[in-house]
């Protein structure tokens, strides 16, 4: 088996102040370059899991290892810095700062990640290269993010996640705002670029039709125990 980029062991997370709201996950491992789909209906703890992986939520128990770093041992600000350096993040929609230019949006994570920034030799040409690779107009960098279509915005979000070659991209239902044709095109572009860079992709979705495009599919209900509401 290839080297793991992400390794979760015996993770238990409970929302502070809400004892009945918890997530328990025994084991999850993702290899370098792997494309993993986490399937689950809403309310199965997908977003909570992504927050734990990204380090914005700290689990009460267990270990979260990303690129050989145990992030649960890091301080809050070190986890923020680590996220900036090692992760690309794509949301469902409204990924971009609407008032900023496309280029500023793509370059935003580099602002918080000096090492990742150093990997990008020439920011301007890298933005242009990524935009071209993702089928965006050449001079889109100067456009205001709010002037883009939803599909274009999602592709800009991919460019932002890819810039500076982070080892892992996590995506939270990035295709749910797109129609079926666009979904396919979107995944094509994402996977092609991720493969070129050797970046792993962990995507959560409720849409089983996306399954065949991935290396591996896991069902949230099977790997994690998620409790919510009064109990």
């Amino acid at each position: 088996m290839a080297k793991p980029v992400l390794k979760l062991r015996k993770v238990f997370f409970r929302w502070p102040g809400r004892s009945s709201f918890s997530l328990r996950l025994a084991d999850l491992t993702v290899s370098y370059g792997e494309k993993l789909l986490l399937l689950g209906a809403s309310g199965t703890g997908k977003s909570t899991l992504l927050s734990v992986i990204s380090g914005t939520l700290l689990p009460d128990q267990g270990s979260v290892e990303i690129a050989k770093t145990e992030i649960t041992n890091l301080s809050a600000s070190a986890r923020d810095r680590f996220r900036a350096e090692q992760l690309g993040v794509i949301f469902q929609q409204f990924n971009l700062l609407p008032f900023g230019s496309v280029a500023d949006n793509i370059l935003l994570p580099l602002r918080f990640a000096p090492i990742r920034r150093n990997r990008v030799k020439d920011a301007k040409s890298e933005v242009a290269r990524l935009c071209a690779a993702l089928g965006l107009p050449v001079d889109i960098g100067r456009e205001k993010a709010s002037s883009l279509s939803v599909g274009q915005q999602q592709r800009v979000a991919v460019a932002r996640a890819l810039i500076g070659h982070p080892p892992l991209i996590i995506a939270d239902e990035p295709t749910s705002a797109l129609d079926i044709n666009s979904q396919d095109a979107f995944l094509d572009l994402l996977f092609t670029q991720a493969q070129t860079q050797g970046t792993s992709v962990v995507m959560v979705s409720h849409d089983e039709r996306l399954g065949p495009r991935f290396d591996r599919i896991l069902h949230m209900e099977e790997i994690a125990e998620f409790k919510r509401g009064a109990a």
Partner: protein, 416 residues
Amino acid sequence: MILRLAIASLFARALTVGMTVLAIALSVSLFLGVEKIRTGAKSSFADTISGTDLIVGARSGSVQLLLYSVFRIGNATNNVTWKSYQDIAARPEIEWIVPISLGDSHRQFRVMGTNRAFFEHYKYRQGRVLALAEGAFMADLFDTVIGADVAVTLGYKVDAPIIVAHGLASFSTHKDQPFRVSGVLEKTGTPVDRTVIVSMEAIEAIHVDWQGGAQVVGQSTPLEQLREMQLTPSAVTAALIGVKSPLQSFALQRAINEYPEEPLLAIFPGVALQELWGIVGLAETALLAVSVLVVLTALIGMMATIFSSLNERRREIAIFRAMGARPLFICGMLVFEAVVMASLGAVLGVIMLYAALSGAQSSIDSNFGIWLPIEAPNLRELAVLFLVVCAGAIVSLIPALRAYKLSVADGMIVRT
């Protein structure tokens, strides 16, 4: 880039940000305006009389003497006899002396008897002398020069007839001796504007037929006869004095205060003005307090704006967090925004103040007699502006800390 994004974020909320900036600007210009009027009023007040070294009157209080001799408020407790006046006038320290005789009135305005030297020596606003807007100084016994407010209020022009009333708010008039307006003074912003000025001799002349506050029944000396009479005043109400050397004014003051023949009082007008301002100046403190509250209100308004923007900006904050921004960065971004808004407000407020000042300066001067100089902000005003920006930053800490907490708790899962 972050700076560019922060500015762009402000621009994206241009309307609310603009309103907030405008509110701060208005409050800042109000505050600085009150400051300007306060200092302007104070210096205009202190400039009511200048160039006079001493004021002499019957013994009372220094503020009272100042009030009736300069501001024509209240009455003299007693007069100064003509003999005492001449004794003082004969002293070697005296450069000039101007007698003032009060007691009669015309409508709501006081009538003041004096001589031509008054127009030469009475100075205001750092040495300005009284000037005629129209007409000429008194030439005839029954000529009068009136202040600008008198002319405007009563609609008098040169040659208008004036009947002087005996005493204040009195029904008995000196109707046998009508006066003629010979000149109207320019607006000065001093009590001279509300004064009817006649000669000392005229004051004597209109009282020739009077005894004990009433006209002797059936007695009315013809005008021709009055003009030929030796009209030496028997008393004056007060006198303005200029000394040859400022060093002598203390000695002269002591000499007058210890004058053996009659209880007299000599005061330094500047000192008495300060004393008087200490009393009326209470209002300025209240005014200042109110304008401080207005600035605080505007800043709290800004805090409310930032607070209410937090909800619509949870998505923006979540994006920053997902990209690796620390909660402290979010906090700092909000404080930075507040500082930008407060600074813009302060600068705009100063601009608005100067625009208003340059527009209203001359009309404030002519209507209220307050001269508001347009000059670069002084150190005190700059300190006030700096404090406004600092206060803006401090006030914004409250919503910023709230954003900090939210961004820690939310993580990245904001789906709004």
